[in-house]
Symmetry: C2
Subunit: 120 residues, 2 copies
């Protein structure tokens, strides 16, 4: 029995979605893009509600995908800095586009939801 992977293949944007739009990844990338190089604890505080476990998981994934770089400084106490890479920064225009769409159309979505919930 082979699994069906057709939906992914049929949609050219699907592969990107897994990389960029997994949970917590956009806030992390945004924070690094906006506020520059940061330490682990800074990110942890900025992304209120995230646990260190999950933050580590996501940062590792982003590092593996080449969107974020990790720099370890062997000091006491240890210091680790995360920074967005050129590849990660290349998502900037895309995020801007997304943000523009939100500004332009999020109101319509809200309105549609309300109409739907009221009962059409």
């Amino acid at each position: 029995m082979q699994k069906s992977v057709d939906p992914e293949l049929a949609c050219p944007v699907a592969p990107v979605v897994d990389i960029v739009f997994s949970r917590w990844t956009t806030p992390i990338l945004w924070a690094l893009h906006e506020f520059g190089r940061q330490r682990f604890v800074e990110l942890e505080r900025r992304l209120a509600g995230i646990t260190p476990k999950v933050l580590t998981q996501r940062l590792r994934q982003l590092e593996r995908d080449g969107l974020v770089s990790r720099t370890y400084h062997a000091e006491v106490p240890p210091r680790v800095e995360y920074e967005i890479t050129d590849l990660g920064a290349s998502l900037g225009p895309l995020f801007a586009h997304l943000s523009n769409w939100a500004d332009a159309h999020l109101g319509e979505v809200e309105q549609a939801r309300h109409s739907y919930d009221v009962g059409r």
Copy 2:
């Protein structure tokens, strides 16, 4: 009970992500955008692997958000057609941008993953 609030507020693209990049939504929107108005069973066949339950769930969500319209024809057998709305179609340029990014940079991601896995 309440999910992410602060990280969403901090990141202007986060709200859009929940609407557009939930599971199965991009393949569905893509199919409707590419192949036009379709019946339930057509979508079901095109999105190989999806179950009717999940397809219904996603279509309802998309309908509620105003991205997809549902038209019921009281015939025997019943006929229901789904179509992308103007609001949904307004995502077209965004998807194109996403697709372009994939073409341009997906290779770099693959390369980064390989380097990472090898251990460098």
